[in-house]
Point group: C2
Chain length 204, copies 2
Amino acid sequence: MKTLQVTAVIVMCGAVANAAVAGEPSAPAGQKEVPADLIRFHGHECPGITIGYRMALEAMKAFPADAKLVAIAENRTCGVDALQWVTGCTAGKANLVFRDYGKQAYTVYSAETKKGVRIVFDGQRVPAEIRKDKAEFIKWLLTSDASAFLTVKPVEVNEPAVEKTRESVPCSVCKEAVNLTYLREIDGAKMCIPCAEKRPAVAK
Amino acid sequence: MKTLQVTAVIVMCGAVANAAVAGEPSAPAGQKEVPADLIRFHGHECPGITIGYRMALEAMKAFPADAKLVAIAENRTCGVDALQWVTGCTAGKANLVFRDYGKQAYTVYSAETKKGVRIVFDGQRVPAEIRKDKAEFIKWLLTSDASAFLTVKPVEVNEPAVEKTRESVPCSVCKEAVNLTYLREIDGAKMCIPCAEKRPAVAK
């Protein structure tokens, strides 16, 4: 059992945490294709979404159906969309934490017990001839036993949760509303981050 | 016309950029409810997903159906899931850029022309009595003209794209595969970021 440290998990919508409920959206085990809804969400079918789908399904086996989950993604590749779709840990609910290390690893854990699993995809174990053909690769990923290419390890996550307020006030410079958590004060003037840093990024 | 600066837009899946195609998933204009598929993906219905849905629909009006899009989210709230679902700019395809300023603003632009729109939700213009009731608030958001609560401005985005390699090698410490773009070298040993920084976060 290893311990992960997560900087912040922020849930902003409403008073009740909106961590995912395991099993929503529905992702029946043993399915031999990536669900059409997931492919539509992602935009295309590919080995990456298939890998992420198998990883996320494998992670879900560690939790009861009503578990509130948090996910940590160690990459920003196609598989993350499967992770979102299967676990319900989405960028919008902020129960999806990005730690982009360029590694094919996802951790999913319970927001309540802090216990979960880290799943690693080991591409080295995929036969070289399989990888040459995209359709064959997808078929192999869907029909092989998960243990043929995934490693699952139990983890416990140290999670100092940070709650943000929902209240916003206008930035004194650009006048746009900014969440109080993000407000900066410079020489007594309260402003948003882009105005405080005079970033060219700001479209005022 | 304002100019935004985006640090990096990274597309990793395949040789062809996987920027979204406008209009996928389907999101018919004038729809008076948030699509059930989107609510299922997000996990619940709320004003936040409704605001994001209207913002994303409004953004899509600026593009032809086959436009390849990139989105910039200035928050990490519920609306981001609608932004992903409607525009096809998803965390997994990395054509969704996070700039979490705590502001209710999304920018969507063409990966080809770099032109697009920045949409801002102005909560101050929502009648106070409407905000008290969640169901009423959602109904108001769906039935009001977008101009009643959204501001749309054309922008041009300065986007120095960075392409990452797809090749991975094993980290010399934890032996897990790491994308070459992320590899660090310390005293001649090549390793992944967590191993290089000896982060407690690493579950080896």
